[in-house]
Amino acid sequence: MIKFQKISKIYSPNIVALDDVSFEIQPKEFVSLVGKSGAGKTTLLELLLAEEEPTQGRIFFDNQDIHKIKKSKLPFLRRKIGAVFQDYKLLPSKTAYENIAYALEVICAADEEIRRDVPEVLEIVGLSERFRNFPVELSGGEKQRIAIARALVHRPEVILADEPTGNLDPYHAAGIIRLLLSINELGTTIILATHNKEVINKLGKRVITLEDGKIIRDEEKGRFIL
């Protein structure tokens, strides 16, 4: 489903974010990316969203070379992916409800569907009462949960989650991981980048370990080892 083929990303001669990285992800897989800060986890996710272009190599999504897709067609790729960003990337001028609804609006979902699904997903992330609030009025953890709600509301094929539990207390962090697991069980591919050792060790799923832009370990039932 997703294939990274000899991917390198060099920002300047001294900054090598990724160095000759190759791996594949099958449909319905739950893959964790682990590594120290600056190991290249976020860059990998940015490349998959076509937010960045690789210096070398090719990335395939459903057998399609992502970086050969025309700019006008990129939205169609991005609609298949739900992304949770480290810095949330919520739309500041929209309320929590509108932020989540936006992901459905861009795929031309019907109004009834939006009215039905958004409150449901707000309920799942435990923020039903905060639907009228703007991002600036939410705590870091609440923003994180709104970002997660936005990423999953349109039932994408893949969810990319970059440190989704980074700003959450253990209770909410466990809830989010449980949510990602159940979404995965329903058939959505999950790519989780995290520092959270406890989460990784409990998951018992595939773990790809990155160090200095290189894959140093790729295990089917991996553990957090750095």
């Binding site: 937010e51 990129l74 939205p75 001028s93 861009v106 031309c108």
Partner: protein
């Protein structure tokens, strides 16, 4: 398609309402731009009025021999009126001319009585649209079959003055056009810059919208709607400012330009002026938005 359009319009309207300070600043700048354009529209009326006033003072007179009969002169008038270059021909009868002369120089009463009606002061006053057309008219008169009835034309006497007046009015016209163009460009740039600033504040938001999978039109649309709404409100505000402004200024303008009623001109062209204002407002809003947002959609 219709659903997307509805969402784009709703999103544009909601953002317009929520942006508060920026919305007010954008409308304020656009009001200045539209006001400037409206002033130019009224200014060109004043310029045209002044120019026609000045040009109306220019004419060429044909004086006839004392033996010429009034019916001959009226026949000549008809022939001259047919010349394409001629704007108007006025016949001043002998009596009328003498009356005018005496009004101006009452001391000539005695001298005129001595002529005992022998002196023929009847004339034709010819007006042309352009300075160079007077030469053509003079040329026609020199070769005309009725030239033996003509005592003299004052064209060559007045040639220099005529040319001077027309060159001044043409300079006024050209300067007005150039100044208007410069002001239009400045006004557009100021409005464009304000909208560009507003959109550059949304740079991060546009980037996020792209990452979530929004198409370029879905991102661009609400900004265009905001441009349209801002332009419409700016046009409306400008109109509401100009109605009382022109109403109170019009009598004062009439002191400087007798015969010019700016308010009746404004009222007579009310819908045209409002249409121009709306088109400028919406045009500036939409064009500026399209140009300003293009840069961020290419990211």
């Amino acid at each position: 398609m219709l659903t997307s359009l509805k969402r784009i319009i709703r999103s544009g309207w909601i953002t317009f309402k929520r942006q508060g300070g920026f919305t007010v600043a954008t409308i304020f700048i656009m009001v200045i731009t539209i006001s400037l354009m409206t002033c130019l529209f009224l200014f060109q009326r004043i310029t045209k009025f002044s120019i026609s006033l000045l040009q109306d003072k220019v004419d060429v007179s044909i004086y006839f021999k004392d033996t010429s009969l009034e019916q001959d002169i009226l026949g000549i008038k008809e022939q001259i009126a047919k010349i394409p270059e001629v704007k108007s021909v006025e016949y001043v009868s002998n009596e009328e001319a003498k009356k005018r002369l005496l009004e101006k120089y009452p001391e000539l009463t005695e001298s005129l009585r001595e002529t005992q009606g022998m002196l023929n002061l009847a004339s034709l006053n010819i007006k042309a649209g352009q300075a160079d057309q007077y030469a053509a008219i003079a040329n026609f008169l020199e070769k005309a079959p009725f030239k033996n009835l003509i005592q003299k034309t004052d064209y060559y006497q007045r040639k220099l003055v005529i040319e001077k007046i027309f060159s001044v009015t043409s300079a006024i016209n050209h300067t007005g056009v150039v100044l208007s163009l410069i002001l239009v460009i400045i006004a557009f740039l100021v409005a464009f810059n304000q909208i560009r600033l507003a959109i550059s504040n949304s740079k991060e938001e546009i980037f996020i919208q792209r990452l979530v999978g929004a198409s370029n039109w879905f991102i661009r649309g609400p900004f265009l709607i905001q441009g349209v709404i801002s332009g419409f409100f700016a046009a409306l505000i400008t109109l509401l400012i100009f109605i009382p402004l022109v109403y109170f200024l019009s009598p004062k303008m009439e002191v400087f330009f007798p015969g010019l009623n700016l308010f009746s001109y404004f009222a007579g062209n009310f819908f045209l002026i409002f249409l121009i204002q709306i088109l400028i407002g919406i045009g500036v809003g939409v064009i500026s938005s399209i140009i300003a947002i293009r840069k961020y959609l290419e990211l």
